[in-house]
């Protein structure tokens, strides 16, 4: 396990969020300009990712889905190797075979990413079973969307984790959208955390656009999982500020709703709060911006310089 980036200070978390934003916006621009395969960006959801990942230790494992850049970057993934992966290049985390939709990075503890909605939920119980049966210390954090909560597998996973006492932090990123369908068309309840009680496990909903609130809730949840060995269902209430898959003109999105959430941009909120409270100076903020810009530019250069995979390996790594 490579050393994780520190997310201990608020400024670290701001920097992580900015990195995610800049990385995703650059990929979105590239998708629009050059037609590289689009990504599912999580712009607007950075606090949910960074807040939860900041509450994990290096022993903990992460499962994620198609909208994974935030989780991976917060965990310390190299944006260059990620961009290379998105572009299908050889130096990507998955040798270019994954593209943007199922990036795993075992070296970072990000395992078994699935782009089948709910796939990560089906696998998380097994990963947690390995942790407990092999006596490993870490818990398992499993990120999924409000849409995934409509799939039966969400219930099967939550139930099994409850009955078998598996140490899983189920993190539902409720971004109000399921591709081109609003959450409200798919369920009567507003929140997914309501299911926790039905399964006899702990649950909570937190403001997903407030990274400090997410972190606090995640720390509490992780502590309860470590203490009890039982799963916990944490919902981050947030919003997908861009489209489902770049490029996407969001014509189907209610403009008022979008504007209201944009006004609650998690990055702008944290930045102004830190500046106001003296936790960050303008100079420090500028320095962060500059670092991020340089990292994303370098990542792009790295990715574009990476060779294409060789079609001779089309059937490699299929069987062990």
């Amino acid at each position: 396990m490579s050393p994780l980036p520190s997310l201990a200070r608020p400024a670290d978390r701001l920097e992580a969020m900015l990195l995610i934003r800049a990385y995703e916006l650059r990929l979105a621009a590239l998708a629009a300009e050059t037609g590289i395969p689009g990504t599912c960006s999580a712009v607007g959801q950075e606090a949910a990712a960074v807040g939860v990942v900041s509450a994990l230790t290096g022993d903990d494992l992460i499962l994620t889905n198609h909208r994974s850049a935030g989780h991976l970057l917060a965990r310390g993934a190299d944006p260059g190797r990620m961009m290379a992966e998105v572009m299908g290049r050889r130096d990507g985390y998955c040798k270019g075979r994954s593209g943007s939709l199922h990036i795993s990075a075992r070296e970072l503890g990000v395992v078994l990413t699935s782009t089948i909605v709910g796939g990560e939920l089906s696998l998380a119980t097994g990963v947690a079973l390995s942790q407990t049966m092999l006596g490993r210390p870490g818990i398992v954090a499993c990120f999924f969307g409000d849409g995934a909560a409509c799939e039966g597998i969400f219930h099967e996973a939550l139930n099994l984790a409850a009955v078998w006492k598996l140490p899983i932090l189920f993190v539902c990123e409720n971004n109000q959208w399921q591709a081109f369908v609003h959450r409200r068309e798919t369920m009567l309840a507003e929140h997914i955390s309501g299911f926790a009680a039905a399964y006899g496990v702990g649950g909570a909903t937190v403001d997903g656009n407030d990274v400090e609130a997410v972190r606090a809730a995640a720390l509490e949840a992780v502590e309860s999982i470590r203490a009890s060995g039982r799963p916990f269902l944490l919902e981050t209430a947030t919003y997908r500020m861009r489209g489902h898959l770049e490029p996407d003109d969001q014509h189907y999105v209610d403009a008022g709703e979008l504007a209201a959430w944009r006004a609650r941009d998690p990055i702008a909120q944290l930045r102004s709060r830190l500046l106001a409270a003296g936790g960050l100076t303008d100079g420090e903020a500028d320095a962060i911006d500059a670092r991020i810009a340089a990292r994303v530019a370098a990542a792009e250069d790295f990715a574009l310089a990476s060779p294409w995979p060789d079609p001779a390996g089309l059937a490699d790594d299929v069987y062990a």
């Binding site: 075979r97 994954s98 849409g147 409509c150």
Partner: protein, 320 residues
């Protein structure tokens, strides 16, 4: 004749059939978002966004079909059918026979498949052979806009469950579509090009590959007949055997993993029924026994190429 895209051909077929028969309805994740013109004309009760839950989308269609409606469901990408197998295979495919003929299941399940978007094999996986092997189901997989339209209309009118696979590699193509009512019957292949020297049997994306190969071969004086199966089940064995009886040679070409694919059934049927006239061994070209990778060069290399088809054809003529 009008030149329209496959996407529009599908939209026309849906609209025409919904207009003709009030029992036809369209269900799926985002179908109402994506087809506002159908919502406008037929109302939200007949064009419904669903929760993100393929198993219940399919189950709902099966239950509705058995009791008087004629649902069309859009399950997006073929691998998502992995959540819908029980309803399609165990219920729609079997309950007519098991119940002693009490029910019919007039429904159409649409799913996209094939290379084209660089999204990897959790989106790009040609599964037509699974459903062809499942009793009680029909499977169509057209290659031209006219056939997409005409076969969808026939599928909607058929009293059996029909899997309707859309090869995304073809989606951007435009082609002539006869104006007005024009049905393409299920189970009838098309001779896309006539030729006397060998038969290239294919469907979906590899039909244009075969046509291009045939054009190249013609430059060398080799006249290849190209058969577009259009329906995989029921299979138009008569047209295939007829062709092979004339040419004495056959190459079956499809994108799906060659092993245990549709081409195996075709090669076996030809070997069984036209053994006496075969001048050379029946050949098959298909994808490697590997999941399709996202990286565009890998994805494209997965699909049988014009060069590979030409080479296979030439190898058969050499061993004359």
């Amino acid at each position: 004749m009008e030149q329209i895209s496959i996407e529009r051909a599908i939209g026309q077929a849906l609209a025409e059939e919904m207009r003709r028969d009030a029992r036809v309805l369209l269900l799926g994740e985002g179908v109402a978002t994506k087809r506002p013109e159908l919502v406008a004309e037929f109302g939200p009760a007949r064009v419904r966004n669903t929760p993100l839950a393929e198993a219940i989308i399919a189950g709902t269609a099966v239950g509705a079909a058995a009791t008087g409606l004629r649902p069309v469901i859009d399950l997006l990408f073929a691998p998502f059918l992995s959540y819908a197998m029980d309803a399609l295979v165990n219920s729609a495919g079997k309950l007519r026979h098991l119940s002693g003929g009490q029910f019919e299941f007039p429904l159409v399940a649409i799913a996209m498949t094939g290379a084209g978007w660089g999204v990897g094999s959790q989106h790009n996986h040609n599964l037509e052979a699974w459903f062809a092997h499942a009793p009680g189901l029909k499977v169509v997989m057209p290659s031209t806009p006219a056939d997409f339209k005409g076969l969808l209309k026939s599928a909607i009118r058929d009293d059996n469950p029909v899997l309707y696979f859309v090869d995304i590699g073809l989606l951007q193509q435009a082609g002539e579509v006869p104006a007005g009512e024009s049905l393409v019957p299920l189970g009838r292949a098309a001779i896309a090009r006539s030729g006397r020297d060998l038969s290239l049997v294919s469907y979906a994306k590899t039909v244009p590959v075969c046509l291009e190969a045939a054009a190249r071969l013609a430059a060398d004086g080799i006249e290849a007949e190209v058969i577009d199966l259009r329906s995989i089940k029921p299979l138009d064995l008569g047209t295939v055997l007829d062709s092979v009886r004339r040419t004495g040679r056959v190459v079956v070409v499809h994108e799906a993993n060659r092993s245990f694919g549709v081409g195996a059934e075709l090669a076996a049927l030809v070997a069984e029924h036209a053994f006496d006239v075969l001048k050379a061994r029946p050949l098959r070209l298909g994808g490697p026994d590997a999941p399709a990778a996202a990286s565009i060069p890998l994805e494209q290399a997965y699909v049988p190429s014009v060069g590979a088809v030409c080479e296979a054809a030439r190898s058969l003529l050499r061993c004359d």
